[in-house]
Symmetry: C2
Subunit: 331 residues, 2 copies
């Protein structure tokens, strides 16, 4: 196995976030399920956008946020995802490259760059409606074999199971990574995403995934159990490392030999939970690819997540490297 | 004079803000003058954007921000400005219409929607580089005579003096407004803008403007005097109302018969001063078109400005109506 050129390469649906504030009546009037992600088509996206309050736009996409986080922590990162050469696509490319991330996937030729319409309610929960757009063009031809083989970890979002050809890209990348002796990480992404693909996710977790990220609702849904502890017992032994997040209850890290129960990092005020799971994965993978023990990985993960939920938007607004180092020194 | 259908119609350069955080070395390395607005061409905009950190996009433009503020306060508002029918133009149109603002100017057919590249330094100052794009297509043909005649106040940004044909639109709108017995308001916009157009601005203020907005540096530059008080004595008598802002020193409102010296509204933490002057004008004009005395207009203005500098971005993130009402009740 040669020296890795990258710490983490992420593959995901490249999306520009369109973030607006609204109260709960907006969710009920538009039949939106709070805290989840729903796929919508172009027409529904236009309809919903027309009803949304003024919004702000910024680069997003689950794995894209994670990769931005890894880079912000000082890690060497690359991204595979599909945008168009339109205004929002150029914004996406700019934002991720400005962090030093390698992002060389050629633009899609038709359609438009995908968008995630995000409504943040006063309780800081985010509700997401995604129009995949060019994101759904992602296919195995976009997976650069040398890039994958040169990264310590290939990180995949469960959302990739939605567009048909992205799944092929996903499986190709996992195969290349393992053949090169690297690790493959997956996030379950969303409870509805788990519902849609439970059988395939169960096979994946048992057979192809070394590092699993899931929140409490997702892991309970995956194993169709009643209690968090039941899911915990199931996932143990299914993959090398599972990092299970529980919002303000903290997180549990499970390996074959260890279990760590970590408290949530303190946050002044939770403003917008968008990106919490993405940045948790960023912190964890940064630690893991820098030789840290899993408990420290969990702490860095929690600190990165705490930064992103303290403001609007799904990517850090301060360089995470300094932020995490100063927090780690505090105790 | 018929009943007014609108409180305020604003005319300005329609721009999408591209906001990034950077420290002062970014300003010096790129020869940017802190706190000011510089006009740049498409090539320089591309070069500078490529060097900028990751950014967030949101609708901006000085008069556009003011009009958004008037609508957020519950006022009846309309906007005249020029975007393209591209992705950023559609964002612009959505954001302003979502507030209930009338915005019916047909899109420009060539070029791209204008952008303002904004760098916010840790001292909360914003430094702006503007590529006007489609904004520079604004001309007298875009000024809807009936719209102007039906608004209590026509509000113009000094930046309109930069693109050649916008000046004609500006003068046409001022003439229509006065013929209809309405008021014309102007903001001097920026000290460099005053430098570029001092003689014409002096004529304007003396002959065509009923309500003038300027900050301390701008009004001192306009009259080429040394002290704020000297400028104050000059502007008195030149226009019906002058609202002169002095950042943390508060503001001075001057009419023919009155002078009010108002303290700045308290702000928890100043995060980003982008939009401070724009929202000050919004609050003032809302009060003025709702029959309030100028001291109360000044208080509403200060409260609206305090909201916008407490977060990133140049438009309010909470409905200003409730925000201002609760602040006014406090004392």
């Amino acid at each position: 196995m040669t020296e890795a050129a990258f710490d983490v390469v992420g593959i995901g649906n490249a999306l520009v976030d369109v973030i607006a504030h609204a109260d709960d009546t907006f969710l009920t009037e538009n039949a939106l399920a709070k805290g989840t992600m729903t796929l919508i088509d172009a027409r529904r996206a236009d309809e919903l956008y027309a009803r949304m309050p003024p919004a702000a736009e910024s680069s997003g996409g689950s794995a894209g946020n994670t990769i931005a986080g890894v880079a912000s922590l000082g890690g060497r990162a690359a991204y595979i995802g599909k945008v168009c050469d339109d205004q929002l696509g150029r914004v996406y490319r700019h934002d991720i490259r400005a962090l030093g991330v390698t992002f060389d996937v050629p633009p899609a030729t038709g359609g438009a760059t995908g968008r995630c319409l995000i409504v943040v309610t006063p309780d800081a929960q985010r509700t997401m409606q995604t129009y995949l757009g060019a994101g759904s063009d992602l296919g195995p031809e976009d997976v650069d074999e040398r890039l994958i083989a040169s990264a310590h970890v290939t990180y995949l979002e469960g959302y990739l199971w939605d567009p048909p050809r992205a799944k092929e890209a996903f499986l190709k990348a996992a195969r290349i990574a393992h053949e090169a002796g690297r690790r493959v990480a997956l996030t379950l992404s969303d409870p509805f995403c788990v519902e849609r693909h439970r059988e395939e996710f169960l096979d994946l977790v048992a057979g192809h995934i070394d590092v699993l990220f899931a929140n409490e609702i997702e892991i309970i849904s995956l194993y169709q159990v009643e209690r968090f502890d039941d899911a915990l017992q199931q996932v143990r032994g299914h993959c090398e490392i599972a990092a299970l997040t529980r919002s303000e209850l903290g997180a549990v890290i499970v390996t074959r030999d260890e279990i760590h129960v970590l408290d949530a990092e303190p946050v002044g005020r939770v403003v917008d939970t968008t990106g919490a799971g993405d940045l948790y994965a960023a912190g964890f993978l940064f630690g893991l690819t820098h030789g840290m023990d899993v408990a420290t990985c969990g702490r860095i993960a929690g600190i990165a997540a705490a930064e992103v939920i303290s403001h609007y938007g799904a990517r850090p607004v301060v360089p995470l490297k300094g932020f995490v180092e100063s927090r780690l020194r505090q105790k």
